[in-house]
């Protein structure tokens, strides 16, 4: 008994000392697959003494998780910039970023300013940019070389060999391809409803062409790799990573414009390790670390000079998919106003149920 007691006290003492000695904190990071590779975490832990716990997730789940805990359970999260102001207005799950604790010189200025603007709610900035990329078309060019725009997925030549997600990017992409501008109608509910009803009709008409609606990144990669699907709407990184194995498959920026997203850093409202969170942001935005993250995630970052250290093969794929005019044509997601999601959800449900 005495032995247990003493060892218990020793453990407790060690715990207390550990907590006070280096001001080391545990950073609970809620992020996407590939954004916090092992080697980067190791370097960060060695340099700062903080430890990092990674939870992988996606946009919707991040907001849902933080909503369930009123913004607790994590110290740093990485939703896309369009999911910040709306979610903050609705659920109050983030806290403002103290920009004085962030080294702004590490960021590409235009991207930093745009993100600040998009994530401002009640005059406070809630997000800074990290990784950006696009969604567009991933096509097997040998078998479906004619697919150059979202609407080409409905063409008879690729019937039964098409896949896309039943999520909001699909609605937006199809709307642009039909010559409509959904982003301009974001704040006009009637106009947006009108656009949605046109897109709904098109998606239902297009449904016989679809093999299946995909859910996860691995699922669509398997479908394309096995040749069961030859044209799809997916993320650029998916196309580039398939391109490594099969030169025919690659990402194509659609004529109507690829849809650009920026994943950010935000502080959950009840996060406890803010110091570690700011340290992590400043650490991963250094050009050489940013290059390591680009290698792991496949997407480029908002780090100034972060593309210099990136693998040449990835750069070549990027340049092949994105000539200058395609870059200029990227449609960046503006902030999603609260309530739009309900309208879109009803449309997506109806498309799924239609025969």
């Amino acid at each position: 008994m005495k032995k247990i007691l003493t060892s218990g006290i020793a453990l407790l003492a060690a715990g207390v000392m550990g907590a006070t000695s280096a001001q080391a904190e545990t950073l609970r990071l809620l992020t996407w697959g590939g954004y916090a590779p092992e080697n980067v975490i190791e370097m960060f832990e060695k340099e700062t003494g903080h430890t990092v716990e990674v939870t992988k997730s996606n946009n919707e789940e991040m907001v849902a998780k933080l909503r369930a805990t009123n913004g607790g359970g994590f110290d740093l999260a990485q939703p896309s910039q369009d999911r910040i102001a709306g979610a903050q207005a609705e659920f109050d799950i983030y806290k403002p970023i103290d920009l004085s604790k962030i080294d702004e010189s590490l960021f590409i200025p235009s991207m930093l300013e745009a993100t600040k603007g998009n994530t401002t709610y009640n005059g406070e900035v809630y997000g800074v940019p990290h990784v950006w990329g696009t969604s567009g078309l991933v096509v097997n060019t040998a078998e479906a070389g004619d697919v150059k725009d979202y609407l080409d997925l409905c063409d008879a030549s690729v019937a039964g060999k098409v896949s896309y997600r039943l999520k909001r990017p699909t609605l937006i992409g199809f709307a642009f391809s039909m010559g409509l501008d959904p982003f301009a109608a974001y704040n006009d509910e009637e106009a947006y409803k009108d656009i949605l009803s046109k897109v709904e009709a098109k998606l239902i008409e297009c449904k016989p062409n679809v093999k299946t609606y995909w859910d996860g990144g691995d699922e669509i990669k398997n479908l394309l790799r096995s040749g069961e699907v030859v044209a799809s709407m997916a993320w650029d990184t998916g196309g580039w990573s398939l391109n490594e194995d099969n030169a025919d498959i690659t990402f194509v920026a659609p004529e109507a414009g690829a849809l650009g997203w920026i994943d950010t850093f935000v502080l959950p409202k009840r996060g406890r390790a803010d110091e570690a969170a700011y340290a992590w942001i400043n650490f991963v935005m250094q050009p050489e670390i940013a290059a390591m993250i680009t290698t792991s995630a496949g997407n480029f970052t908002a780090s100034q000079g972060g593309d210099a250290g990136v693998d040449e093969a990835l750069k070549a794929r990027y340049q092949a998919s994105f000539p200058q005019e395609a870059i200029d044509n990227i449609k960046w997601y503006p902030t999603v106003p609260a309530n739009l999601e309900t309208l879109e959800g009803a449309v997506l449900d109806r498309v799924k149920a239609a025969n």
Binding site: R67, T212, D215, G227, E228, A346, K352, A353
Partner: protein, 287 residues
């Protein structure tokens, strides 16, 4: 002193059960009920009302999805019973000793891996470039690859496979308790296979059949993975709708209402099933 002690030990024995019931079942349901009756009117504004429940009845999509889910779950249950009954009868009545244990174990083995792995196994078998399609082409039965995946039949296969064990186990137990001499007596009195099955075996196995059916029905109705992964582009499943409302639409209010409706409607179906078969919960599941 002695009675106080025994009362204390009784209390301590009950505590885990009461805590489990209160913390994990009753309290969450109360919260969910409260969420489900708050109707959103604007940003961070809610009023109390039944609007979320009305959505279910006014939007035919949700109502149809529920009917479809219930219908497919009932079909899956009946199919599982049809396949499971001969298997259980064979294990309980026609085998002895080691063979019996081995056969029972073989029913159990697929359940040593998670449901996700089992479902992916079916995906590998059924997909267009999968095992079945390739085998059929290899033997020259078909010339083009066939897609078996992404349709309702694939969902049905997945559901039956996933719930087979839960049908076989209660059936084996009840059939085991049937005295062989009763079956012999049935034949001695001039019965044939069908009458013996109808007059002796099925009435005796009824509690096992009903409890197996209840478990399989609830498992199928509440299944999320199998319909999502194996189902095609039109295959909506009610639990999938609930997930969508909670996670992708951030609409917890409607999701909670759907959750309650699922609870109420599935309980009604089970109750109706018990009434139709003339059984009660106490002599089926409660045994």
């Amino acid at each position: 002193m002695n009675s106080a002690q025994s009362r204390l030990s009784l209390l301590l024995l009950f505590t885990p059960f009461v805590l489990w019931l209160a913390l994990l079942i009753i309290i969450p349901h109360i919260f969910m009920l409260l969420v489900s009756i708050s109707v959103k009117t604007g940003v961070r504004e809610y009023v109390t009302g039944l609007g979320n429940y009305m959505v279910f009845f006014t939007e035919p999509l949700y109502w149809n999805t529920f009917t479809r889910t219930a219908f497919m779950s009932i079909s899956a249950t009946l199919l599982t019973l049809l396949i499971g009954f001969p298997v259980a009868y064979y294990i309980a009545k026609l085998t002895r000793g080691r063979t019996k244990t081995t056969l029972f174990l073989m029913c159990l083995i697929p359940f040593w891996v998670s449901e996700l792995v089992r479902t992916f196994g079916w995906m590998i078998l059924l997909r267009e470039t999968g095992v079945f399609s390739s085998a059929l082409q290899y033997f020259g039965i078909v010339s083009e690859p066939i897609e078996f995946l992404y349709n309702d039949a694939a969902i049905m296969i997945g559901l039956v496979y996933t719930s087979m064990l839960f049908m076989v186990v209660p059936l084996v137990t009840t059939l085991d308790s049937l005295d062989d001499s009763l079956i012999e007596a049935g034949y001695d009195l001039g019965g044939n296979g069908i009458t013996v099955l109808r007059e002796i075996i099925i009435p005796h196995a009824m509690p096992g059949i009903v409890s197996g059916c209840i478990v399989v029905f609830m498992l199928s109705l509440g299944n999320y993975l199998t319909p999502i992964l194996l189902g095609g582009k039109d295959s909506l499943w009610f639990t999938g709708l609930i997930y969508d409302q909670f996670i992708t639409r951030f609409n917890w209010e409607l999701g909670s209402a759907f959750g309650f409706l699922l609870l109420i409607l599935s309980s009604t179906i089970v109750w109706a099933g018990l009434k139709l078969s003339g059984q009660s919960l106490t002599n089926t599941v409660g045994r």
